[in-house]
C-alpha cells in the first residue's frame, strides 16, 4: 500500500500543469472560471490546441493519434485541466464515437472519420435517447429501412446535447422488430445536413438551450455509414458506455467547484462575518470536502485497477453516484452562498460581452445556473437509480 504518486507520475503532473499554464487561452479559462457561456469557437480553439500537443483524444491508443495514456495519467490530466478551468473536452466524437469506430469500424470508416474527429472537421452529437426511450434505451423506435444502398431513417431523438453545433449525429436506430428489442438495433452515422433532418432547441430550467430534439423525416443515409453489423448496434452501444464512464467521478470538476464555493463564501458576508467563517456554513463545506477527499481515493483505487488492465466494471457506477452527490451538494451550497441574489434571472450575464453591472455579485447568476443545470448529472449517462440497480445486480448479486 502506497498512496503516493510515483516520481514519473508527479513529473507528468508538472508537465500537464505547465502545458496548461502556457497554452490554455486566458479568455477561455476566464469564461470557465466565472461560469460564462462558451462559444462553439472556444471549444474548437481549445480542441485544436490539445490536438497540436497530441493530448486531445485522451482515451485513444497511440496508433490512432491518442497520447496512449493509462488510466492514472488520464486521471491526472483531467484533474489538472479542470483545476486550470479548461473547457471540458466535448465527448461525443472523441470519447464516445472514436473508441466505437476503432473497435467496430471498417478500415475505410476508421481512415475517414477518426482523423476528422481529431482535426475537428466534424462536430458530433449523440442520438440515443428518444421521447419513449430513456433509461430503457433498448426500446428506441427511430427506424432505418434499407432501400438499395441507403437506409431511410424516420423518427425522433431528444435531449441531444449541443446538436445546434453539430453536423454529424451517431444514432441508435431500429432495423428489426424481431426477437428481443436489443437485437434489432443498429448504429448509424447521420449527416445532419441531409434533407429531412430538423433540430429544435429545448430550453432547460437554467434558461439555456443546451439540448435539442432532432427529427428525421425519410432521411436517406448511405449504407457505408452503418457501424458494425446491421442489428448489432447494441454491442456498439454497450461498448461506448464503458468509455462514457471514464472520468465519471468528475473529480477535477468537483475540486474546481469546491474552490469556487470557498471563494464565494469568502466574498459573501452575513452581518459582520464572512460566510466562510460562519460555523454552520463552514461545517457544510467541511462535510462535503471530507467526502471529496475520500472519493478521490475511491476514484484512484478504481483507476489503479484500470491502469493495471482491468476494465472498470460496475465500480464505475459507485463513482458516478458518489461523484454526482458531491458535485450537486457543492452546487447547492454555492447557490445558498449567494443568498437573496439567487433570485434574479439574468441570462444575459452569462455572456462575456455583457457590459452592464450585474444585479448583486457577479458570481450569483452563474451559481444559480449551475445549480439548476447540474441536476442533469444524476439523470444522464445512466441515472442514479439505474446505477444503483447495476450495483445491486452486478456487485451485490441481488
Amino acid at each position: 500500500m502506497d498512496i503516493n504518486y510515483s516520481a514519473g507520475q508527479m513529473a507528468f503532473r508538472d508537465e500537464v500543469k505547465s502545458f496548461l499554464a502556457e497554452n490554455l487561452p486566458e479568455p477561455i479559462s476566464r469564461k470557465v472560471a466565472t461560469g460564462k457561456r462558451l462559444t462553439k469557437q472556444d471549444h474548437e480553439q481549445w480542441h485544436a490546441i490539445l490536438f497540436r500537443r497530441g493530448w486531445l483524444a485522451v482515451n485513444w491508443p497511440r496508433d490512432f493519434g491518442g497520447p496512449g495514456w493509462n488510466a492514472i495519467e488520464r486521471n491526472i490530466f483531467e484533474e489538472e485541466a479542470a483545476l486550470a478551468h479548461a473547457p471540458r473536452i466535448i465527448p461525443f466524437g472523441l470519447a464516445m464515437l472514436g473508441p466505437v469506430l476503432q473497435r467496430f469500424g471498417t478500415p475505410q470508416q476508421k481512415d475517414h472519420w477518426l482523423p476528422r474527429i481529431l482535426r475537428g472537421d466534424d462536430w458530433w452529437c449523440q442520438g440515443y435517447s428518444e421521447p419513449g426511450a430513456g433509461s430503457d434505451l433498448a426500446s428506441v423506435t427511430t427506424s432505418a429501412v434499407r432501400v438499395g444502398d441507403h437506409y431511410v431513417v424516420s423518427g425522433q431523438k431528444t435531449w441531444t446535447t449541443l446538436a445546434q453545433h453539430a453536423n454529424m449525429i451517431f444514432c441508435l436506430v431500429r432495423t428489426s422488430r424481431e426477437g428481443k428489442p436489443q437485437q434489432g438495433i443498429s448504429f448509424l452515422l447521420i449527416d445532419m445536413k441531409s434533407p429531412g433532418v430538423t433540430v429544435r432547441p429545448i430550453v432547460l430550467i437554467d434558461g439555456e438551450a443546451e439540448v435539442n430534439e432532432v427529427f428525421f423525416d425519410n432521411v436517406r443515409i448511405p449504407v457505408e455509414n452503418l457501424v458494425g453489423e446491421e442489428n448489432g448496434g447494441w454491442t456498439c452501444a454497450k461498448y461506448l458506455l464503458t468509455h462514457e464512464r471514464t472520468n465519471i467521478a468528475g473529480l477535477g470538476l468537483a475540486r474546481a467547484a469546491l474552490q469556487n464555493l470557498k471563494r464565494i463564501a469568502y466574498a459573501e458576508t452575513s452581518g459582520e462575518t464572512r460566510l466562510i467563517d460562519n460555523p454552520l456554513f463552514a461545517s457544510r463545506i467541511a462535510s462535503v470536502e471530507i467526502d471529496l477527499m475520500a472519493m478521490a481515493t475511491t476514484n484512484l483505487r478504481v483507476v489503479a485497477q484500470a491502469a493495471a488492465g482491468q476494465a472498470p466494471g460496475p465500480e464505475s457506477s459507485m463513482l458516478k453516484i458518489k461523484g454526482t452527490v458531491i458535485r450537486q451538494e457543492i452546487d447547492k451550497l454555492t447557490r445558498q452562498a449567494v443568498g437573496p441574489y439567487a433570485a434574479p434571472f439574468l441570462p444575459e450575464f452569462l455572456e462575456e460581452s455583457e457590459q452592464a453591472d450585474p444585479i448583486g455579485p457577479p458570481h450569483a447568476m452563474p451559481a444559480v445556473q449551475k445549480y439548476f443545470n447540474n441536476r442533469k448529472l444524476s439523470i444522464y449517462g445512466g441515472s442514479s437509480e439505474i446505477q444503483r440497480q447495476i450495483i445491486a445486480k452486478a456487485i451485490l448479486e441481488l
Binding site: 435517447s129 434558461g207 452575513s270 443568498g339
Partner: protein, 382 residues
C-alpha cells in the same frame, strides 16, 4: 382543537382554485414575467374582484379577516399553480405596515390596495442579506420633510407598483433596530430610479436608487421608533404567506410527479411500479405533510408575543426550506430529462419553490436564528 377552515375560507379556497386553474396557465405566467409590469393584469383583476386582497386585512381596516389562516388559504392556492401576483408585496408587506403604523390617509390607501392598487415595500439593500435591521439608506431632516438617499435591492413587484413604502435611517448604526423610519414614496418622484429585471421564480423585481428624494412628514408611517417592530411583525406574516405558498407549490409538484410516475412507462411498465421510486415518493409525501404542519404552527402564532412568534417563524422557514429542496430535487430526478425543461409545468414550479429559500432567510439562516431565539427558553434548565 379544530383544523377545519371556516365556511368563508372554504368558499374563498374553492373559488380561488377554480379561477387560478382556469386562468393561471403556463402561458399567462411566462407572458407576465416577460411583460414590463411582471404580473398579469387579468389575474390581478380577477383576484381583486374575488376580494382576495380584502381577505388579507383585518375587519378594523375594512378587510375580511387577515388572520394567519386567511393568509394561508390564499397563498397555498397561488402556490399550487405557481402564480406570482403581488399580493404578498402589496397586501401583506406594504399594506400591513400601513395598517399597523398608519399614515395621514391610512384608510384611503388601504381601500385602494383592496381595490387593486399595487404598493411595495422597498426595504432590503445590497448588503443586508437577510438582516431585517440593516438599513443604510438615510433620511435627512429638511424643513417640513425629509431627503431620502440610498439603494434598495430586490424589490419584488416594484415594476408593477406606483408607490413604495421605503425604509430609511434617521439615527443609529446600520444594523440598529432603533432609528429606522418608513415613508411613502411615489415611484415617479424626482430622484427615484428603477432598474427592472426578471426573477428565476417568475415575475419581476427592481433595484431602486434614491437620490435626495423629498418626502413630507405626512408621508411618514407612524411617528415614533416602532418601525422595526412593525417590520418584524409584517415579515412574520410574509413568511407565513410564503410558507403556505411553498406548501401549495409542493402539492402542485406532488400531483404532477405522481401523475408522471403513473403514466411514464419504461421497461414495459409504469416507472411508478419501481419500488425505488415509490419509497421516495412516499418520503416526499411525509415531508410535505410536515411542511403543512409547520405552516399551520406559524399561522397559529402570528398574534403570539414576539419572542414566541419569531421562534415559530424560524422553525417554519427552516423546515420549509429543507423540504423545498427535497421536493425540487426529487421531483426533477423522478421525472428524468423532462423534469429539466421549461416546456413542462414542473420547471416553473420547481424554480419558484427553490427561490422560496432565498427570500426572508434560508433554512440555515433560520436554523441559527432558531438556536439564538431558543436560548432564552433554555435558561430554565440552568
Amino acid at each position: 382543537m379544530n383544523f377545519d377552515l371556516t365556511e368563508e375560507q372554504t368558499i374563498l379556497q374553492g373559488g380561488l382554485r377554480r379561477f387560478l386553474r382556469e386562468q393561471a396557465t403556463p402561458d399567462t405566467l411566462s407572458g407576465a414575467t416577460a411583460g414590463d409590469a411582471g404580473h398579469s393584469h387579468t389575474l390581478w383583476q380577477g383576484l381583486v374582484e374575488m376580494g382576495v386582497p380584502m381577505a388579507l386585512f383585518p375587519e378594523s381596516a375594512g378587510g375580511l379577516g387577515g388572520s394567519g389562516f386567511d393568509i394561508s388559504v390564499v397563498f397555498e392556492e397561488l402556490g399550487r399553480v405557481g402564480a406570482f401576483e403581488p399580493l404578498l408585496e402589496s397586501g401583506i408587506l406594504a399594506g400591513g405596515l400601513i395598517t399597523e403604523l398608519g399614515t395621514a390617509n391610512r384608510q384611503e390607501v388601504i381601500d385602494q390596495i383592496i381595490a387593486g392598487r399595487i404598493l411595495v415595500l422597498a426595504h432590503a439593500e445590497p448588503d443586508s442579506r437577510y438582516d431585517l435591521a440593516h438599513v443604510q439608506t438615510t433620511a435627512d431632516r429638511v424643513d417640513e420633510g425629509w431627503l431620502l438617499t440610498g439603494r434598495k435591492s430586490l424589490v419584488v413587484a416594484a415594476p408593477a407598483a406606483d408607490m413604495a413604502v421605503v425604509s430609511a435611517r434617521v439615527s443609529g448604526a446600520i444594523s440598529d433596530r432603533s432609528g429606522i423610519a418608513l415613508f411613502m414614496v411615489p415611484l415617479n418622484n424626482p430622484g427615484v430610479e428603477l432598474r427592472s429585471y426578471r426573477l428565476q421564480g417568475g415575475g419581476r423585481a427592481a433595484e431602486i436608487a434614491l437620490e435626495a428624494v423629498r418626502v413630507s412628514d405626512n408621508e411618514r408611517l407612524g411617528g415614533g421608533n416602532e418601525a422595526f417592530a412593525a417590520l418584524e411583525r409584517v415579515h412574520a406574516r410574509a413568511c407565513a404567506a410564503q410558507c403556505a405558498e411553498a406548501v401549495g407549490l409542493m402539492n402542485g409538484i406532488r400531483e404532477l410527479t405522481v401523475d408522471y410516475l403513473r403514466g411514464r412507462r419504461q421497461f414495459g411498465k409504469p416507472i411508478g411500479s419501481f419500488q425505488a421510486l415509490q419509497h421516495r415518493m412516499a418520503d416526499m409525501l411525509i415531508e410535505i405533510e410536515q411542511a403543512r404542519s409547520a405552516t399551520i404552527n406559524l399561522c397559529g402564532h402570528l398574534d403570539a408575543p414576539s419572542a414566541e412568534r419569531e421562534r415559530q417563524v424560524s422553525a417554519a422557514k427552516n423546515l420549509i426550506g429543507r423540504v423545498a429542496r427535497q421536493v425540487v430535487e426529487e421531483s426533477i430526478q423522478m421525472h428524468g430529462g423532462i423534469g429539466m425543461t421549461m416546456e413542462y409545468a414542473l420547471g416553473h414550479l420547481a424554480k419558484r419553490l427553490t427561490m422560496v429559500d432565498c427570500r426572508f432567510g434560508d433554512a440555515d439562516w433560520h436554523l441559527e436564528r432558531f438556536v439564538r431565539l431558543s436560548a432564552v427558553a433554555a435558561e430554565e434548565f440552568a
